[in-house]
């Protein structure tokens, strides 16, 4: 979307014009929802997080500095909202036990071939603790010390959660690979 028309849209939203707000919402829905989906356990939760995020966007739009890019600004709000949600709802939950993992050599190619929705489903099956750390580290690029501060955990816990998240993912990917093979071989 062109700079000026986006700016005009933002101006309309600052004026609390409902029509402008709806257009902005539809425009960034996919981007925002994609962030929330990988942090949440299911679509329902993701929608809640996303709407909470958009609410913050619309009520804080006048603090947005138009010299900065808009998409990352929204993205940060969504990520922060997702983290708040996790901390409010899941932090006290127990971590699940870990199965042993198998070989990981084929995993890369399996993932390459996976559809987004299927990969997303795997991510969502991780426990919230692992999923959140994995998102923050592997997708959003935070360092362990930053994650420790954001989630109020130790750096060690952050590293260990990341490790476990990856292990779990590999496990699931391998299961997925087996399923695909079985399908291919006509079961």
């Amino acid at each position: 979307m062109a700079e000026e028309s986006l700016q005009r849209l933002i101006d309309g939203c600052v004026q609390q014009e409902r029509s402008s707000q709806k257009v902005l919402y539809e425009l960034f829905y996919g981007f925002a929802m994609a962030i929330c989906l990988r942090y949440a356990g299911n679509r329902y939760e993701a929608a809640e997080i996303m709407n909470e995020g958009f609410y913050k966007v619309f009520t804080n739009l006048q603090t947005y500095d138009s010299n900065r890019p808009f998409k990352p600004w929204i993205g940060r709000i969504m990520t922060n909202t997702a983290i708040d949600y996790y901390r409010a709802n899941y932090k006290t939950n127990q971590f699940e036990e870990l199965d042993e993992t198998g070989s990981a050599s084929d995993n890369a190619s399996v993932v390459e071939k996976m559809a987004y929705q299927d990969l997303l489903a795997l991510i969502q099956r991780l426990s919230p603790a692992y999923r959140t750390v994995f998102n923050l580290y592997a997708i959003d690029g935070f360092a362990h010390n930053e994650i420790a501060q954001i989630l109020d955990i130790s750096i060690g816990t952050s590293k260990s959660n990341l490790h476990k998240a990856r292990q779990k993912l590999q496990e699931m990917i391998q299961k997925e690979a087996k399923l695909v093979n079985e399908k291919r071989n006509g079961i």
Binding site: M50, D65, R166
Partner: protein
């Protein structure tokens, strides 16, 4: 699995997940849910508007009352030898006093009482039956009439002055008419000269807009010099507490330091010495009420700036603080706009109130923000030089 493979898979996953926005289906139900939330939020009271609307309404109400209230009849013909004409306001009779009151609803209570007393002092002579008017009274009334004229216009008189004046007249029998003292005649309910005063105010402080503003307060001293009948200049020193909250994006200190975890919001509490230099114009004056507008420049000396950093997730224990003491000075960095209503209480004292706006030209404080203030001030002024 080695690190390379691990990183490789991470990257693949990352890429795929980031493309997700192209695969997400829009659902209208999600918008509907948000819309209800936004509708609920819209009912939040806009304090800023209520605040300024109330101030404006108050000023307009006072304005209208001043303009349209009935005024005293100050062109009463008063002569020495026609006592019969002088039945109007200046008798001690209760009924006439009442009519006096109806003609002069403006409360000048001390004056009226004194006049009544003075009238009583005069010995009634026989000439006009049914009334108590006679030459002596006419003299009295003439003088009193003059005094009443004066009284209407110069309500700044202390009652003792009037009493002395009225009591003097019958003894001295100045039939040639009243000579109000020169100084009294020249005195109006405005004053020339110098006044010192105190000012206290409450205001909203914000950056950018007043949407998320914080309430602060000021207190200080002013010195005002009346240059002409309408124009005055003033200055002073005012201690102000100016709190405000901004998004971290708006906080722009000169340093290049970027924290690894960025705060979400910054809450500032600044103590400022505000030194204004203002020029004021009195555009309406009625008796003891006057309305003025003014503008000028303020200098903000930042005595103390405390910054509190808040993080997006409130559970973050590391909320940082920063204190800057006596560092920043913004000479002539803020533009003032104000309006005020002032009421003369007596010769020496007046009180006033009115709204004001402070708009920065400079970037204020360590955070270099455009800190604006809007508020309502109350003033008390003592006129020390006339």
């Amino acid at each position: 699995m080695d690190d390379m493979t691990r990183k490789n898979i991470d990257d693949i996953i990352r890429k795929k997940l980031l493309e997700g926005e192209n695969y997400v289906d829009y659902q209208e139900a999600d918008w509907n849910a948000l819309e209800s939330k936004l509708d609920a939020q819209k009912k939040v009271i806009p304090w800023m508007w209520i605040f300024s609307a109330a101030a404006v309404i108050l000023l307009v109400a006072m304005f209208s009352w001043i303009i349209w209230k009935p005024t005293n009849n100050d062109t009463r013909p008063v002569t020495q030898n026609e006592p019969s004409q002088q039945t109007q306001p200046i008798t001690p009779e209760p009924e006439n006093n009442r009519s006096t009151e109806s003609q002069n609803p403006k409360p000048v209570p001390n004056t009226r009482v004194l006049l009544a007393e003075s009238s009583k002092k005069v010995q009634p002579s026989a000439s006009n039956a049914g009334t108590q008017k006679e030459p002596q009274i006419s003299i009295e009334e003439h003088e009193l009439g003059q005094v009443l004229n004066l009284a209407e216009n110069f309500n700044s008189f202390s009652t003792s002055e009037l009493a002395v004046y009225s009591r003097r007249a019958p003894d001295e029998r100045e039939t040639q008419g009243v000579k109000p003292s020169i100084s009294l005649a020249k005195q109006r309910n405005s004053w020339n000269g110098l006044a010192v005063g105190i000012i206290a105010s409450t205001d909203l402080n914000g950056v950018g807009s007043f949407q998320h503003s914080s309430i602060g307060g000021d207190f200080g001293f002013t010195v005002t010099a009346q240059i002409t009948d309408r124009w005055s200049i003033s200055t002073g020193a005012i201690y102000a507490k100016k709190p405000y909250t901004i998004a971290y994006d708006q906080y722009r200190p000169g340093s290049n330091y970027q924290p690894s975890v960025q705060p979400d919001k910054v809450h500032a509490d600044c103590r400022v010495l505000d030194i204004p230099v203002n020029i004021n114009y009195t555009f309406l004056r009625r008796k003891e009420d006057s309305f003025s507008i003014g503008t000028g420049i303020s200098s903000y000396l930042m005595l103390r700036e405390d910054y509190y950093f808040r993080y997006a997730n409130s559970y973050n224990q590391g909320s940082n603080e920063l204190s800057i003491v006596n560092r920043n000075r913004h000479w002539f960095g803020v533009v003032n706009l104000q309006a005020s209503y002032e009421r003369q209480i007596n010769t020496g004292l007046s009180i006033g109130f009115g709204p004001y706006l402070k708009l920065p030209v400079d970037d204020i404080g360590y955070g270099r923000v455009k800190l604006r203030s809007v508020g309502l001030a109350v003033t008390v002024n003592w006129h020390v030089l006339q």
